[in-house]
């Protein structure tokens, strides 16, 4: 589904990603772990198409298409979803309006007609019920005045409604207490499916206690320096990133 080949990228002319290879197949959940400054967030922004990140070498294919040629909204249309580390506030725009706009924009991209407003609201309320989210949540302005946990929960709601092919979770666990972490993990686990791939970017192993990945990779110095199963995450938790940081320096 997603193939990253020999990716090199710079931010402000400074090389951050230095020859990264990664392949995700449908149904797989991959975790990328790494120390601060390893290029984890850069990777998520490159995949989602944010300005300010320049790819200098390599390619990224999504279902065979050159992803790097597409605008951010086109990538969303193709089925890529990024759960933000810091979800953005949009005052005055109700959550339900935002979700409807997003769903219709994606449908338009795929050449499908707009969704019926009533049917959409009905489906939305059902999704909320499933995620244990109060209906009042839908009337509030997007992330405005939300607590950290509410913001992350909102990302999970968007993930459920947009049902992408590839979900990228960028440090979704940061700043969450254990209850919120569990809610987020439940949301993600409910979305696991044979057609959907997930890329979970995290600094800490604790999220992976709740979302058990198929593959774990260590990103250090802009490259994948080790790959393995869930046991690799436990090893990192016990021993830290020291070993890999040293490797990078060598």
């Amino acid at each position: 589904m997603l193939e990253i080949k020999n990716l090199h990228a710079t931010v402000d002319d400074k090389p951050i990603i230095k020859g990264l290879d990664l392949t995700l197949k449908p149904g797989e959940v991959h975790a990328i772990m790494g120390p601060n400054g390893a290029g984890k967030s850069t990777l998520s922004y490159i995949l989602s198409g944010r300005d300010g990140y320049e790819v200098t070498e390599g390619e990224v294919l999504f279902e065979g298409k050159d992803l790097l040629e597409l605008e951010p909204e086109e990538r969303a249309g193709e089925g890529i979803f990024l759960a933000f580390q810091y979800p953005v506030e949009i005052p005055g725009v109700p959550n339900s309006t935002f979700l409807k706009e997003a769903v219709n924009a994606v449908r338009k991209y795929k050449g499908e007609p707009e969704i019926d407003a009533l049917a959409f609201m009905k489906g939305l309320r059902e999704t909320c019920a499933k995620l244990g989210i109060d209906k009042e949540f839908l009337k509030r302005s997007v992330n405005t005045g939300f607590s950290g946990g509410e913001k992350k929960r909102n990302e999970m709601l968007q993930l459920s409604v947009l049902a992408p092919k590839l979900a990228i979770l960028d440090e979704t666990d940061s700043g969450l207490d254990i209850d919120a972490l569990r809610t987020v993990a439940d949301g993600v686990n409910a979305m696991r499916s044979p057609d959907r791939a997930m890329l979970i970017i995290t600094h800490y192993q604790r999220l992976l206690d709740y979302i058990v990945p198929d593959h774990v990779h260590v990103l250090a110095g802009g490259r994948i320096v080790a790959s393995g199963g869930p046991e690799l995450a436990h090893k990192l938790e016990a021993e830290g990133y020291g070993e890999f940081a040293a490797k990078d320096a060598a």
Partner: protein, 483 residues
């Protein structure tokens, strides 16, 4: 390209897409160019007006000659040559139309292009429309239904023929002819406009609406609107405005007077989309409008809501005189400027009665190289015991080359009066745009979404059917981002 730079660029291409920039080819009846006492007499004679009104017009004209141009606004434009314009232009018609069937089909086509098919509205929407085409009111729909409850809704020319005593009693009592240079000119040469009278205790059964359009080249449009809500009555009125694309500037100097007697309420909403000029600031409407409401009776209420997206220059301060005790004045405003548009707009709340209240919510959005100023006066008179005001001014900037300014004037002569003022300035952030785009929403739609969110408090004040229109207009005004 950075998202903001891109937005700015796209926004700048907007004016080429002014959707209402077509001209209707229709024969018009015009007065000679220029302004003189003879022109004033010509207009008055054309309209078969009573002697007192001609005298009033002439008094205004003579005063106007002496009056200086208002200078306080932060707008910049070359001196207006008042002799280089026509002051009367009317579509040629054999007689006044009795019904829509007698109206020139070309005129009706124009209104259809504007999105207000009169016929359909008559049948479907339940909105009574008084359409002003250049200077003469063309057709008034729904008149009969309104007559049943005693509401008078007609052109001001017609009111002068049919209800001269009402017009004489109220005309110029809120905005005197000598109020300011633009209002003074209007008093001398106004050609038409709407007249509304709601009898005591009547709640007007439908939204009343006027659609103004400037068609003829070089014509100023000087309409005059007079709305009287008698004791205990209620009316909601909407005006919408467009004009074709022209290279030269056109002057629009309107006057709107509202009078609310005891326990009466008037809600006046404007969606203004005059041609704003091109991206270099060429052409466009000079919108110099005097709007004022007089809460004459106790417990009366006047509420102004405006969505201002057009005009090269906007000079406009819809105001409330809160004379009656416990009367309420409100001002809700969205102003969007783009390219080289200039807007100096705001309100005046003059508290004279006891326990009077006013509320001002202003949302300004500046893009391109536009300059926008909120200018607001809150005055608490010496007898305004317990009066209260709340003002909130928010500015949103798009791009690096625009300006937003907030100029509040507060005067209080009463110790018990309370005045609150809050102001914020913000930008559409790259983060917001990227967040929307990552969810699939293209950039230009994302801008419209963020701006609509910013304006939500004011949009909610508009009557339902117009809120939708205004929301779309917000998108169109900042379009150009649509690729």
């Amino acid at each position: 390209m950075a998202a903001t730079a891109e937005t700015v660029e796209k926004v700048q291409s907007l004016s080429e897409r002014y959707k209402y920039g077509f001209v209707t080819d229709i024969e018009t009846d015009m007065a000679p160019k220029g302004l003189s006492e003879d022109i004033v007499r010509f207009i008055s004679a054309k309209k078969n007006e009573p002697e007192w009104l001609l005298e009033w017009r002439l008094k205004a004209y003579r005063h106007w000659l002496e009056m200086p141009e208002p200078q306080w606004a932060k707008v910049d434009f070359p001196e207006i040559d008042y002799q280089d314009a026509y002051y009367y232009a009317a579509p040629k018609m054999k007689d006044q139309p009795k019904s829509l069937d007698e109206v020139d089909p070309k005129l009706l086509e124009t209104y259809e292009k504007l999105g207000i098919p009169l016929r359909e509205q008559e049948i479907l929407a339940g909105v009574a429309v008084d359409a002003v085409f250049d200077s003469v009111s063309v057709a008034t729909t729904f008149k009969h239904k309104l007559e049943e409850v005693g509401v008078i809704f007609c052109s001001i020319s017609e009111a002068l023929q049919e209800h001269p005593e009402l017009v004489r009693k109220y005309l110029g009592t809120v905005v005197p002819y000598a109020d300011n240079k633009h209002a003074c000119l209007n008093s001398a040469v106004f050609t038409d406009g709407s007249f509304v009278y709601i009898p005591p205790g009547v709640r007007c059964p439908m939204e009343l609406s006027t659609y103004f359009r400037i068609n003829e080249q070089n014509t100023g449009q000087f309409e005059r609107t007079l709305i009287i809500a008698d004791e205990g009555s209620y009316v909601s009125y909407l005006e919408g405005c467009t004009a074709p694309m022209r290279d030269e500037n056109q002057l629009h100097a309107a006057v709107v007077e509202l009078i609310a007697l005891k326990d009466a309420e008037i809600k006046y909403s404007t969606v203004q989309n005059w041609y704003p000029g091109d991206e270099d600031g060429k052409g466009g409407i000079y919108n110099f409008v005097t709007k004022r409401g007089d809460c004459r009776g106790d417990y009366s209420k006047i509420s102004w809501t405006q969505v201002e997206t057009g005009s090269a220059i906007t000079w406009k301060y819809p105001s409330c005189l809160l004379r009656g005790d416990h009367s309420v004045g409100e001002f809700y405003s969205i102003a969007i400027t783009n390219n080289r548009q200039q807007a100096d707009t705001g309100t005046k709340m003059v508290h004279l009665g006891r326990n009077t209240k006013s509320r001002i919510i202003s949302k300004g959005i500046s893009a391109g190289r536009s300059q926008q100023t909120y200018r607001g006066l809150v005055r608490m008179g010496s007898k305004a015991e317990g009066a209260r005001n709340y003002t909130q001014c928010d500015s949103l900037l798009i791009g690096e080359s625009c300006g937003a300014h907030t100029v509040p004037y507060i005067e209080s002569k009463n110790r018990s009066a309370q005045v609150e003022h809050e102001a914020t300035t913000s930008r559409i952030s790259e983060d917001q745009l990227f967040y929307c785009r990552q969810r699939g929403i293209p950039e230009e739609d994302a801008v419209a979404l963020v701006v609509n969110g910013f304006c939500r408090e004011v949009l909610q004040q508009l009557p339902m059917e117009f809120a939708v229109e205004a929301q779309k207009l917000v998108g169109i005004s900042l379009e150009g981002s649509v690729g």
